[in-house]
Symmetry: C2
Subunit: 389 residues, 2 copies
Amino acid sequence: MPQAPFVPVIPAGGAGTRLWPLSRRTHPKFLLDLTGSGRSLLQQTLDRLVPLADRAPIVVTGVEHAEAVTAQATTLADHGGPRARVLAEPSPRSSMPAIALAAALVEREEPDAVIGSFAADHLIGDQEAFARAVITAREAADLGYLVTLGIAPTHPATGFGYIEQGAQGTGAAALRAVGAHPVARFVEKPDRDRADQFLAAGTFSWNAGIFVARARVLLDELAAQIPSLARGARGIAAAHGTARYQDVLERTWPQLTRIAIDHALAEPLAAAGKVALVPADFAWDDVGDFAALARQLREDPPSGPGGVGEPGAGGAPADVQVLGIADVSAVSSTATVYGSGDRHIALVGLEGISIVDTEDVLLVLADERAQDLSRLVAGLDGTGHGRLR
Amino acid sequence: MPQAPFVPVIPAGGAGTRLWPLSRRTHPKFLLDLTGSGRSLLQQTLDRLVPLADRAPIVVTGVEHAEAVTAQATTLADHGGPRARVLAEPSPRSSMPAIALAAALVEREEPDAVIGSFAADHLIGDQEAFARAVITAREAADLGYLVTLGIAPTHPATGFGYIEQGAQGTGAAALRAVGAHPVARFVEKPDRDRADQFLAAGTFSWNAGIFVARARVLLDELAAQIPSLARGARGIAAAHGTARYQDVLERTWPQLTRIAIDHALAEPLAAAGKVALVPADFAWDDVGDFAALARQLREDPPSGPGGVGEPGAGGAPADVQVLGIADVSAVSSTATVYGSGDRHIALVGLEGISIVDTEDVLLVLADERAQDLSRLVAGLDGTGHGRLR
C-alpha cells in the first residue's frame, strides 16, 4: 500500500457550451445532475474521490462559482471522509495554473503527498475499478512519475484524445511491478482513420485527463518547463492562511501562463520518459455534447421523478429517454428530452433528436450535429441574446 | 352573367387533429391564422366569397364554436358585402346535413338561388382565378347541374381526392358553352402509382370539396337519394324565424343521416351524368397536416410580427420559417416554428422538422411523418391528457 498521503484535486472550470442551455455561464456543466442520479457531476466526482482521500479534496473553481461549489461540496454523501476545500480563481487560466496552485498548497503542508487531478464533469461507470486504478497510480507516482489513467477504448472515438503506451525501456520493470507502463506520447483527437488505426494497434488508450503525481515532483517538473508558473503558484501558496493571501493571489494570478496541463507537463514529460500509464477498463465519458449524453442516458436510463413519461402513446414504438420532470407522449420516435417545465411534450417521427425545454430557451438538436451547438451559442452575443448564455 | 342570386355556404366543422396543438377541440383549424396573414382560414374564406355573394354567406358550425365564428365573421374585411349568417348545429353530423340545412333556408327564401359550398379551412392562392371559376360554376349550376371546381394537379398528390372528367355526351355542348365539363366519377385519395397514372392521363383534377348548385336542385336530388335527410332539412328551415325553430332543430337534427356530401350526392349524381366540373388553375391546399403547412409557408413565407427570427446565427445556412412571435436562432437547419411564447428557440442540424411551442404543449414533429400526429392525439385521452386535445 502507498505510504504518502493522497489529496484529490478537482479543477472545476469550463462552461460546457455544447450542453447549453442546460449549462450556462452562471451554471456550468459540473454543477448539473446530467444523469438523473440526484447528484451533480461535481458531487459524483467528490463521492468517488472522498473514500480514496487522506486529506480534504481541493476544488479549484472560478470566483463566480465558488459559492455554488462550496454549497455542493458540503452536501457530500456521508463517506466519513474529509470535506472539500474550495479555492477561487480570480479569472480562468486553463488547468495548469489551477492544478499548480493546489499542488503548491499541498506541497507546503506535506511535500511528499501525492495529488491526483480529476475533471469535475466526467462520468465514470465502475467505482471499484476506478478506485483500484487510482491506488495503482499512487504507487507509480511514489516512483516519481507523472501518472495518468488510460481508458481501454471501446470504439474508434474521434472526440477524445489518445495516449500511446511506450516501449519497455529502463525503469519499466519498476512500473510493471506496480501494474503501470511508460507512456510514449499523447495524441490529440484523431480523425476517424487514425482512430481506427489506434484501436487496431492495441497500444492506445483514451486520455481521461487524470494526472497523479507527488506534489513536489509536479512542481519541480513544472519549474523546469515554465519556471514563472511554478514560482507564481508556490508564491501564492506561501501566502495562504495569511492576511496577504488575497492580495498576492490577485496580483500573481493574472501573470500565470494560461495553459492546459496536457501541453505544460504531460506532452513534454512523456517525451522525456517521465510519464506512466495505469490501464483502466471502467466505463468513462466526458459527456462532451448532447450526442454523448443521449448515448449515456440510453445505456443507463434515468429513473428519477418524471421518468420516461409515456413513450409509445398511440401504440407506436418509441424510444424516448426523459431527464427531468417532463411529461412526454411519442409516436415512432428516438429522442432524448430534458424537461424543466410542466408542459406536455409530444414527439412524432423523430430520429436521434435532443430536446431541451427550459424556462427561457427551447433547444431542438439533431444528435449527429451536436458539435455544431457551440457555433450557435457563440453567435448569441452578436444577435443580442447574450443574456441566455 | 348569371341571373339567380348566389349564396355562399361554409360548413365549418372538423377539429383538424393533424394540426394539434395549434388546433384544439375548443379552437379548431378554421379559426386559426395559419399563414401569418392576420386573418383566420375562415376569415380568408369569407373575404374571398363576400365580393361574389348576392346574399349574406351562411356559416354552419358546431354550437360550441358559434360564438367564436360569429365574432370572426363580423370582423370581415370591408368589401361592402353582406355580413355572414351563422347557423349552429346541435351536434356534428358531417357535411351533407349542414349543407342541406343551409340550402333549405335559401330555397325557402329564393327557390332559384344558387348556393356554393366551400370548406372553411382551405388555402387558395389566386383570388381572381377563384372568382372566375366560381362565376362559371354559377352558370353551369343554372343549367341544373351539381357543379364542382376541379383543381389542376401540380404533382401526384396522395393526400387529395381526384375527379375524372367524363366523355362529351348529351348535354355536354351546353356545358362546354359556359366553360364546364361533365364529370365521370369521383376517386378517393389514391396510392402513389394511381396518382402518377391520374397525372399522366390529363383528365383528372384535385377535388377541393367545392359544390355549386341551385338550392332546389340540390335538395330535390338529395330527396331522391336520402329522402329523410332532405325532408328533415326542409322541415327545420320551415321553422326558421319562428318560436318553434330551436325545438324543431334539436328534435330533427339528431335523426339526420351522418354523411358527407361526396357520398350523399356527388358520387351518385356523377354516375347519373348530373355533375359538372369547372377547370380551375389557382393554387389550392387543404393544409391537412404540418407537412402541407410547412410547404405552404416555405413557398409563401409569413411576414408578421416575429418574422423569421435570426436563422443562420453562427454563420451556417438555415432555412427556418417562423409563424408567430418566436425568436429563433438556427444552425444548419430546415424547420418550421410556430411560436406563442417569449422563449428563445434554438435549432441545430434539423431537416424537415416542425416545432409548435404553446403554453401547455410542445410538439416536435418530423414533417415526413406528419400523418402520424393523429395517432398521438387519439392516444391523449387514454393517458390522462384529454384536456390537451
